[in-house]
Each structure stands twice: as structure tokens, then as C-alpha cells.
């Protein structure tokens, strides 16, 4: 993987925004206010001004709770959604405004794995048909024998017996089906894989099998991952860098080790403290007040201020910018910037 572009990140996300309109038709946008009809449409602010980078060979994890926009980020990068604003660059090329045709060669490089392997395989196709389809599509000149060989090779590499190729998805367990979904992504030799909660639907012992498989594929194929998950212990194990999302904004980006050893943003700290620990039976979790606000009416200022114990007047009015820290992490928090956090904790 030593080409000229290695000094630039493989994936660059710049000021990405995505809004989903709630009121779509003309009549839905009509509201009756103060004796007059006005046009007004509400929208869900799913992703707000996110900038992220992933270098080659990295596993960038995006974590956050439901509704924080992590899956929307994955879908935007995969080109399944069009951003409202902002840019996505892949290998130095802007990809968010490409036409379907221009996107084709990139689809081979960027593959996606979804959470539910039951839904991501066509129940009426045998495993062989499902695995051969992407190869045929992306390599139209490949002979039938070549396609067959490629599929057999990938099946072996993910631990699925090639003699099962004539079976249908329902004949496999959840873990095996997820292996097949991973095999399907690998058949076209991608360099970048977007995995949206790939192991959340699986049992603990099977999670380990699938995670090992993804780690092996990373080593042997030099893959880069964008890994979306809510499970912090998986992040600690799998990720090289982590971005913590809250209400569509990035709170903190750091190397995995830095994030887990010295989390800075108050939300990151609360999130880490909430993970049930195996060996320690004393929960020391930081209680957050209130609940996640709706992304329809975003709070002004810092998105986290309504639940943050350190919020002051500035947090309520001004949205914090991402600021680089001495240890290489990036944190968007006024309290961290003003060094108020640990002063309070110490005092």
C-alpha cells in the first residue's frame, strides 16, 4: 500500500451535515400561526458539521448512543445518502457529489457490512449466487472459472466451507451469516470497509469469532475500517482511533489508548463510566441528568449542555470548537478548553 497518496488520509470528511426533512409535501409545510398561513418545515439534524479523517490501515471507530448520527455518517460515506452540506474525500478525490456512474469504480473499493445479516442476504439466492454477484458486476470480463475460484478463496478465508455454497441463507446461524456477509464484501478486494454495528446482533462467543475474522482481514489485506458501534469494549479492542458522537456532533476524537486512559469530554467520561465492569462490582458511574434532546430542535450552544454538570453561560450560548490537545486528541468542550473540569473534580 505504498503509493504517492499515503501522506494524505484515505478518507477525509469535511464539515459534513445531513438533515432529514420531516414535512415533505407542500401541505405538510403549511402551518397556521397568528391568524396567517405560513410555510415552515421541520427537519431532523442528524449530522451537524462533522470533520473526521481515517488514514490507511486504520480502524476508525465511531461511537455514540442511539440517535447520535453514527449510522448516518456511515451511510453518507458509503454514498447511500447525499449530504446536505460538506464534503467527503476518498483517496484525494471528492466523492459526495459523484454521479452513480462515476461512483461505480469506487463501490469496488468501498464496501459495507450491516448489523443484521438476516436482512443483508437475499433469502432466495444461494450463498454462491450471493457471493458471485458482486464479482460478476465489478469484473465483467472475468470468466466463470475465475469468478468461482475467487469466491472459493474468499469463503475459505472467512471460515465458510465452500461445500456449503449451494445452501440458502436460512440454513446458516447468525454468526455464519455474518461471515458470509463479510465474505461478500471481501470478494471484490476492497480497501475500505464501512461496518455498521457488525457484531451487535450476535452472541458473545460468536462476536469474538467475527471480530477475529475482521482483524485478520485487516492484517492480511491492509484494510481500512470505519467501524460504527455502541459497544465501548469492542472499540477498545478493535479501534486505532475513536470519534465520540453526541447528537450529531463530534465531542472527542483520540487514539484509542488515549481515549480510554484519559477521556476529556464530560460526555466521553460519562459514557466510559457507564460500561458494566466484569471484575469491579462497585458501579462508579457518572449519572447524567435528563435525557438526550430531540435532534429536531437542537439546543443552542454545546449539544451536551443540557445534561452536563460543567455547563455555564458560555456553553449555553456558544457551540464549542474542536481544539487540539497536547496528547493528540481533539476535544470540543469549553470546560476542557478553560481547564474547568479537573479543577472542579479536584476541589
Amino acid at each position: 500500500m505504498s503509493d504517492a497518496k499515503t501522506d494524505r488520509p484515505l478518507l477525509e470528511i469535511k464539515n459534513l451535515e445531513k438533515r432529514f426533512d420531516l414535512d415533505q409535501g407542500f401541505l405538510e409545510t403549511l402551518k397556521f400561526k397568528q391568524g396567517k398561513f405560513v410555510r415552515e418545515s421541520r427537519s431532523v439534524h442528524a449530522v451537524n458539521n462533522i470533520s473526521l479523517e481515517a488514514n490507511r490501515g486504520e480502524a476508525l471507530c465511531v461511537v455514540g448512543e442511539s440517535g447520535c448520527g453514527k449510522s448516518t455518517v456511515a451511510r453518507l460515506v458509503a454514498g447511500l445518502l447525499t449530504p446536505t452540506a460538506g464534503e467527503i474525500h476518498y483517496g484525494g478525490q471528492r466523492i459526495d457529489n459523484l454521479s452513480r456512474g462515476d461512483m461505480q469504480p469506487l463501490r469496488k473499493k468501498i464496501q459495507m457490512i450491516f448489523q443484521n445479516p438476516y436482512a443483508s442476504l437475499n433469502p432466495r439466492m444461494t450463498i454462491r449466487q450471493a457471493l458471485e454477484e458482486p464479482v460478476r458486476h465489478h469484473y465483467p470480463s472475468a470468466s466463470a472459472a475465475e469468478v468461482r475460484d475467487k469466491v472459493t478463496e474468499v469463503m475459505l478465508s472467512v471460515g465458510v466451507d465452500p461445500s456449503w455454497a449451494k445452501r440458502y441463507p436460512h440454513e446458516f446461524s447468525g454468526g455464519q451469516r455474518q461471515r458470509i456477509a463479510i465474505a461478500r464484501a471481501l470478494t471484490v478486494d476492497p480497501e475500505f470497509i464501512i461496518a455498521d454495528e457488525p457484531i451487535s446482533a450476535l452472541d458473545v462467543s460468536i462476536q469474538a469469532q467475527v471480530l477475529n475474522l475482521m482483524l485478520e482481514a485487516k492484517e492480511s489485506r491492509g484494510l481500512t475500517y470505519l467501524f460504527i458501534t455502541h459497544d465501548l469494549s469492542v472499540v477498545e479492542h478493535f479501534g486505532t482511533r475513536v470519534a465520540v458522537l453526541y447528537l450529531g456532533s463530534v465531542c472527542e476524537v483520540a487514539d484509542t489508548r488515549t481515549l480510554f486512559s484519559s477521556p476529556k469530554h464530560p460526555y466521553t467520561r460519562a459514557l466510559l463510566s457507564a460500561v458494566p465492569q466484569l471484575k469491579d462490582d462497585r458501579p462508579n458511574h457518572i449519572r447524567l441528568k435528563g435525557e438526550i434532546p430531540t435532534p429536531i430542535n437542537l439546543p443552542t450552544g454545546c449539544p451536551f449542555q443540557s445534561r452536563c454538570a460543567f455547563a455555564d453561560a458560555r456553553c449555553k450560548s456558544e457551540k464549542p470548537k474542536a481544539i487540539h490537545q497536547p496528547d493528540g486528541s481533539t476535544v470540543a468542550c469549553h470546560a476542557v478548553e478553560e481547564d474547568r473540569l479537573d479543577a472542579v473534580a479536584a476541589g
Partner: protein, 331 residues
Amino acid sequence: MSLLSVRDLTVKFAMRDQTVTALNGISFDLAKGERLGIVGESGAGKSITGFSLMNLLSRPGYIDSGQILFNGEDVVQMNDKRLRNLRGNRMAMIFQDPMVTLNPVLTIGQQMIETLMAHRKLSREEARQIAIVKLREVYIPSPEERLEQYPHELSGGMRQRIIIAIALLLDPQLIIADEPTTALDVTIQADIMELMLELCQSNQVGLILITHDLGVVSQMTERTLVMYAGRIIESGRTREIINDPQHPYTQGLINALPQQTVPGQRLKQIPGNMPGLASIPAGCAFNPRCKYATDLCRSRVPETVHYGEVEVACHEVQRLNSDEDRQEARA
């Protein structure tokens, strides 16, 4: 006398062409106010155990043999009237998905007041007051207003709190919680766990917590049962089971967790899958996935023996303990 005593409970499912055994000779006890965890992967029989305790199994499932003694009275033999008195009143159940448990077309108040009036001789106003007290106990802000709201108007965490409040309405002696926090985010899960722990301790309510998450069990319970393919394979004090598991499956389950491995290294996976109920292997059900398995394991079901601090069903538990990897893992 223990609050609950389950003896040799066997549950079967009559399928079209065969009858499969979902629970095979389950026995355990629960003291008053005790918190017990049941862990295992999907298909182990944890939820079936929960349903059986309330005699809630419906066809094709049925209790084939065994006893479930609750305060000395056998739940299996109870008639419908006695069961109605038992369910909700003395035993309550909390499920994973609060949206499915709550009736979407009734307000929270209607559902709570209805439950209270069905079991107790109360006026509507008295029932309303009790509902408000219970909602306050689970830290629901402005409970009077919540009573008028419908389930869809509330967040997931709030709904699960309301479910807990409903479970506590009639001051039961035992709560069976089947994956109560699995559908929730971690920060909300931590809140709900704290709340349940606090309520069980202050009201001396027994808790059976069914979950696949060993971290949750570790923080919530005093004793743990580990289930595999319809049997209890290991049981004992939670701390002992987490710190020094004896059965190879329990060891595998704990070692497979990402936090048990140096980041970036291969996780210690258990090979293979849990067998389906129709194809449980002969002998110890875990034998095809177990690296210690012998001919004995492949032919005879292991008895439960007392070993160290726990009860374990494994033929090879002694040999396994002298194993080098195991010594290493402990050190």
C-alpha cells in the same frame, strides 16, 4: 424456607415430527430478597426458565416434569385462579422491549390503575395515588402528567422505568427480569441497573435477572447460574464465577470478551455454535466445542459436582484445573 425452589424442571416443546427438550432437569433455589443472574447465549433456555417460573409457557411448550415451589406452593399444579393471584401480585416480570409490554392505546395511568384495581379492592382515586407514588420511586419527573401520556410519547429509558414501576405496583416478592436493559443505551442501562438494585435492596424483593451480559450480572447479582443447551452447567456466587470459572464454557464465555485480551490481539473465541434443541449432542452438550472433551464427555451427561466454591457439571473439571493455560490465565 427459600422463596423459590425449582426441582428437576423439564420443559418440552412438541413439534410436528418430534418433541424437543428445552429445559433438562433444572434445579435451583432463591432466598428471600436474593438476586440471582441467569446467563447464557441465545438458545440456552434462559427465557424459557423465566416463563416457566410463572407458568406462562404456551403451546407447543409445556412443563413435562418437576416442581416450582414458590413459598412452598407448587406453581406447576396451580389452577388458573391461583395463577392469576400469583402473577403480578407476588411475582412480576419485566421484558426486554418496553414498547411491546405497554399497551400503545392506553395511557400509562389507565394501565397502572387497571392493574391495581384488578388485584386490590381500591377506588380509582386510591389506585391513582399509589401509581403516583410508584412512579416517583422510579424517579419519573412530574408523575401526575405522565399518567395522562401514552407510551409512544416517552423515551426508551422512561418506558423501562414505567415497566419497573408497574412490576412493583403490587409489592411482589420476586421480579423476573428478562434482558431488562439490552435494548437501552449504556448510560441509560447504568441508570436502570442502579435503580433496580436500589429498589430490590430497599424492599427486600428477590430478583432473577436473565441476561447475556456478564458485566450486568457481575454488577447486579449475588449468585449466578450459567446455562447451556437447556441445562445449568455451573452455579455459585457471582464473584467466584466471574473470577474463577470452572466449566470450560463459562471460561470460554468470559475469555471471549474483548476486555480479557490485549487490544489488537486475537480474541479467545469459542469454536462452533450452540447446538439447536433438536440436535443436542450425546453426553455433555458442550463436548463438540470443548478442547478438553474425552470419550466419557461424548457418551455420558456429567453430574453436577461441588468443586472449589461452585457447583459445576463437567467430567474433566479436575484435569482442566491442572492445565497449563489455565494456570497461566489465573496468574
